[in-house]
């Protein structure tokens, strides 16, 4: 299948998934104990307003009709108004999503660079000292709770050594500029990336080890190719798909981590917004955040699927 056809086919396949996602997000509101209208309107609502909203939402209607209404509004970009800010949710979300994506991108770069480098280093020295050290370190990294790692890094680099700023994306005075952003992003990105680096390293390493035990690798060696070439060309090329795959999955894990590192480092992204919205019991905002993340996640996975597909010669 050509790449283009694959992309189109996958697009076709994610549409039902995305619709399902909206359904889950819509239904999640049903989990809230008590009156949905009250939840949506906040605790100010008087009886009359509640009644209006109920009619407006068609809460007397069957759930499916309510969903259809909600979905139609959603398609038009209307996620409702934030309870806390009284501003359309979409308006608040857009900059937050952008900020989170910046942090994600930073973390993803770390994940890719370290995950790949470490796994190649480890697999090439399978059972050697370098391998052992990398396996040990990634075991530890995989066991660190992200919220705690964030605090530790914040304490060590921000408080003790004062090497990095510890809050926000830019300096407060004269904000802006790539330099500032890069300075600010380092620790949050490391925090977010740590466990993903571990996962990617572990998976890619074992895939690479697997590959290096494949008969064609033996055959390559038997043809007189140097170990370097065998590992870096044949080994790496054949583990790239796995790497891209697990890398794509990391987008999801990273989002899990981003929520915490944003809270800890005051990064004005969607994770922090989600946290605040939770404390504020701001249901439309929570729904908006979740929806935004899910969409980004699905699209990210789509990209990684396409890369995996492009890398897999046997499916061409």
């Amino acid at each position: 299948m050509s790449i283009l056809r694959f992309v189109l086919a996958r697009f076709g396949a994610i549409i039902p998934v995305l619709i399902g996602v909206t359904l889950v997000v819509f239904l999640s509101l049903q989990l809230v104990p008590g009156d949905i209208a009250l939840t949506l309107l906040g605790r100010f609502a008087n009886a009359e307003q509640l009644e209006t909203l109920r009619r407006h939402l068609g809460l007397d209607q069957p759930l499916l009709v309510q969903y259809a209404d909600w979905f139609m509004r959603l398609v038009q970009g209307d996620l409702g108004d934030s309870l806390a800010q009284k501003i359309p949710v979409a308006l608040i979300l857009i900059p937050k999503v952008a900020n989170s994506l910046i942090l994600m991108a930073g973390s993803l770069i770390l994940v890719i660079a370290f995950g790949f480098g470490l796994s190649v280093l480890a697999a090439a020295n399978f059972r050697g000292p370098a391998d052992r050290v990398i396996v040990f370190v990634s075991l530890i990294l995989a066991s660190l709770p992200v919220f705690w790692l964030g605090l530790v890094l914040l304490y060590v680099f921000g408080v003790k050594w004062k090497l990095f700023p510890i809050s926000g994306m830019y300096d407060m005075i004269d904000p802006g500029g790539l330099g500032q952003l890069l300075h600010h992003i380092v620790i949050p990105a490391v925090t977010t990336a740590a466990s993903s680096i571990a996962i990617v390293t572990r998976v890619t390493r074992s895939r690479l080890i697997d590959v290096l035990h494949q008969p064609y690798i033996l055959a390559c060696t038997a043809r007189g190719l140097s170990r370097r070439r065998v590992v870096l060309r044949h080994g790496v090329r054949n583990s790239l798909a796995t790497f891209a795959n697990i890398g794509g999955l990391q987008i999801g894990y990273l989002f899990g981590g981003v929520i915490f590192s944003e809270i800890i480092f005051n990064w004005p992204g969607i994770g922090m917004q989600l946290y605040e919205s939770i404390l504020q019991r701001d249901a439309p905002m929570i729904q908006g955040c979740v929806l935004a993340v899910a969409v980004v996640f699905v699209l990210g996975n789509l990209i990684s699927d396409v890369i995996v597909h492009a890398l897999d010669t046997t499916r061409r």
Partner: protein
């Protein structure tokens, strides 16, 4: 015809064998790896701590020693220091271990219990299975942590709701594992042999396939317990899980955040505790995977690595 004594002998040795089924491979994998053995021991110790906390903890976890607030580890009488509420951190850690274990392990167990039949039946009836798996795809569109956070946020904070949220989040993952294993298992000749011997479908599923497939689920569960412990602690950290004043390591880490400048130990200690517990789970999980995974198991027994084509 075989005479009586032989039959008897067979029977008795079989009884012995059945005991071995459950523990043999686990023991072989976990027990022979000193690191994993250490990790398993550690988990047992923590479990013991959790059970015995009321007895061995030096103080009531909620008793405030106000004069000693924020005292660092090494304070006389409070080896791990005192927190911002004047509570003994060691006692809180000991009491918290139970909650942390519970919040991490229970969802995994429940998830597996639900997933195994779901995945098995799905794999046996491919049409149904496809539909179930497509429904699960929707759940995979949410990052795991996010889904748990959303569900917990909407259901409201509390231990029970958190566990529920985690179960809902875990079931699809576990089901996928069971489904994949069962689909693979279904291809194997022994299933066909069972059908040839007129074994009814349900019996094939739950008598023949279950033990093989459950192993996959158990292995998967073991490898994710660590992650679930972190997620559960994370939910508590966000205020969505266990509620104060219950000692729980996630909350303890979260509470210490405000005192990072002058009393970093309040956050540091529970964080270390979580890390160690998760590390132990991960080590045991890895060893279990290596020992229960049929591939490795075959290798283990036949001493013949499958190296050359």
């Amino acid at each position: 015809m075989v005479d009586g004594p032989v039959t008897g002998k067979v029977a008795s040795s079989r009884r012995r064998a059945r005991r071995r089924t459950n523990l043999y491979f686990v023991w072989h994998g976990v027990g022979s790896d000193p690191v994993a053995r250490g990790a398993a021991f550690l988990i047992l110790v923590l479990l013991l701590c959790a059970i015995l906390a009321p007895v061995i903890a030096p103080f009531d976890p909620n008793a405030a020693h106000n004069a000693l607030r924020l005292q660092p580890p090494g304070t006389p009488g409070h080896p791990l220091g005192v927190d911002h509420q004047g509570r003994d951190i060691l006692s809180r850690l000991l009491h918290g271990s139970g909650m942390t274990l519970l919040a991490g392990v229970l969802p995994v167990v429940l998830g597996a219990v639900i997933s195994i039949p779901l995945g098995l039946v799905g794999a046996w009836y491919p049409r149904l299975g496809e539909i179930v798996m497509r429904l699960m795809d929707i759940v995979f569109a949410f990052p795991m942590a996010l889904l748990a956070i959303m569900l917990a946020a909407f259901m409201g904070p509390g231990l029970l709701n958190m566990i529920l949220a985690l179960v809902v989040t875990l079931v699809p993952y576990n089901t996928r594992v069971v489904y994949a294993a069962a689909t693979q298992e279904r291809q194997l000749a022994y299933i066909e042999a069972a059908r040839a011997a007129a074994t009814p479908d349900l019996k094939i599923l739950f008598v023949e396939m279950l033990p093989n497939v459950a192993a996959a689920s158990v292995v998967y569960s073991c490898t994710i317990i660590g992650a679930v412990v972190i997620t559960a602690a994370g939910l508590s950290f966000l205020g969505l899980g266990v509620q104060p004043p219950i000692a729980e390591w996630g909350i303890m880490t979260s509470e210490g955040r405000s005192y990072l400048v002058n009393a970093p130990h309040i956050s540091a200690l529970p964080g270390i505790a979580i890390t160690v517990l998760v590390l132990a789970f991960n080590l045991v999980g890895d060893a279990l995977r290596d020992s229960l995974d049929p591939q490795t198991r075959l290798r283990l027994v036949r001493h013949r690595p499958h190296l050359f084509g």
